[in-house]
């Protein structure tokens, strides 16, 4: 499982170019900075109000004024700039983020996304997720292909949506899929899996790119 998560994060890391401004969702996406290619450094936006999220402070070095959007104490890059919610979400919603990478519960053929209501659980709230996926220039979903045997890439999301028609790319341990001219298209497949494996694990209909590539580990 650790391998699978790292595989997904590594592949997602390749989507970035130097200087990109991005917001990474909690969990798997936060592993991405560790896997950025040589010469690529990115600027991380934290929706509670800054650009220039860096790492975790040493114990005793915490700054009580600097938390991330999960409430954890964090450190910042030298180019950090802090701002209020109105500015933080103007940055998000105004198209100033090159990319956001988030997990999902479901994605469907129409690029709809569901990732905020877990059935049977209390609804914690969308926080900034709805804004992020509507506002970022590119929305990448990084997730395991299925969840306890259940499909996550659906014909139509059955869970309440986070947003409609917003997903650009899906990266799983099995493959990479992209919405090309609005059509969900398989563009890379991991050597461990066959096309039949991917089809079986995917409820959605998808096209196969004529340039289908191998999803490389390194």
């Amino acid at each position: 499982m650790a391998d699978i998560r790292a595989r997904i994060a590594k592949r997602a890391a390749k989507e970035f170019k130097d200087g990109d401004i991005a917001n990474l969702g909690i969990g798997l996406p936060t592993m991405i900075p560790d896997f950025l290619p040589e010469g690529v450094s990115i600027v991380l936006h934290s929706e509670n109000g800054f650009t220039g999220l860096a790492g975790t402070p040493e114990p005793g070095e915490e700054d009580y004024r600097v938390i991330d959007s999960g409430g954890k104490w964090v450190t910042t890059a030298p180019y950090v700039n802090f701002f209020g919610a109105e500015e933080s979400f103007a940055i998000i919603r105004g198209g100033h983020l090159d990319m956001t990478v988030l997990g999902a519960m479901q994605v469907d053929e129409e690029a709809n996304l569901a990732n905020w209501i877990i059935p049977g659980k209390n609804v914690a709230g969308m926080g900034g997720a709805m804004d992020l996926v509507v506002g970022a220039k590119k929305v990448v979903i990084a997730m395991t292909h299925t969840q306890k045997g259940n499909h996550k890439i659906m014909k139509k999301c059955t869970l309440p949506l986070t947003a409609k028609k917003v997903v650009d790319m899906i990266i799983t341990e099995m493959c990479v899929m992209e919405f090309i001219d609005g059509k969900l298209t398989l563009t890379e497949i991991h050597p461990d899996y066959t096309l039949e494996d991917v089809k079986a694990a995917t409820e959605a209909e998808f096209a196969v790119s004529p340039n289908l590539k191998v999803m490389e580990e390194e």
Partner: protein
């Protein structure tokens, strides 16, 4: 010039049972703790609370063992209705919802900021694509512009806004350092009555004008003595 300097107890006495208040900060960071403490002591009930979230309860490892931010008000049963973007961090909120004592309205974080700003800036509303096709659109108008749909988000105006600043002058010009800014500026714009709790209050003219980030025209009352949070 009007004297705006008051004690925390004097300032929060403008808040009455059933009022709508807004409290700045994000998970407690940037929240005006001395005003919240005074409001707990005052015991005002049936509040509608506008905040990004529910703060952090004392058992959260990032609190140093005391309730942080609006968690104080919720733990003390003073809030009937919370309007927020995310309430998953404070388990008291789910408990209150289950018990039927707390109503929760969820608003996307960016829309929450814009709704407050709209109230403060005199806008009748703003159009946003955020929330379209989701449960957020329930009960809201959809406005089409050149074939594209937007949700109409209306202004959200608190009676009293409780703001945290690091520095303030006696006119009310104020400055927030680092990531304590979240929601404090828009809530200062939106509130009918605005109370700022500052770590340090300077005399007017003691600092350069550009030292201050937000104009004191929004501010009605100033309370000194906000402390750095204990880590």
């Amino acid at each position: 010039m009007k004297n705006k300097m008051l004690t925390a107890a004097e300032a929060v006495s403008v808040i009455k049972d059933g009022d709508t208040i807004a409290v700045g900060g994000f998970l407690g960071t940037g929240s005006p703790e001395i005003l919240l403490d005074a409001l707990v002591a005052q015991g005002t009930k049936h509040l509608t609370l506008i905040a990004n979230d529910g703060g952090m309860r004392d058992d959260n490892p990032y609190t140093g063992g005391r309730h942080k931010g609006v968690a104080k008000l919720i733990a003390n049963g003073q809030v009937d209705h919370i309007i927020a973007s995310h309430v998953g961090v404070n388990p008291d909120i789910f408990a209150g919802m289950s018990a039927g004592t707390l109503k929760c309205t969820l608003v996307p974080q960016g829309s929450l900021a814009e709704k407050l700003r709209a109230a403060g800036a005199g806008l009748g509303g703003v159009l946003t694509p955020t929330g379209l096709g989701t449960p957020v659109e329930e009960g809201k108008r959809i406005i089409e512009i050149e074939g594209v749909d937007y949700l109409l988000e209306l202004p959200l105006k608190p009676k009293v806004s409780l703001i945290r600043a690091d520095y303030c002058d006696k006119f009310g010009n104020f400055t927030m350092l680092k990531a304590t800014k979240t929601f404090n500026h828009v809530m200062a714009m939106a509130g009918e009555i605005v109370i700022v709790a500052a770590e340090k209050v300077f005399e007017i003219g003691e600092k350069d004008p550009d030292f201050y980030q937000v104009s004191g025209v929004y501010v009605d009352m100033i309370v000194e003595g906000e402390e750095p949070w204990q880590i």
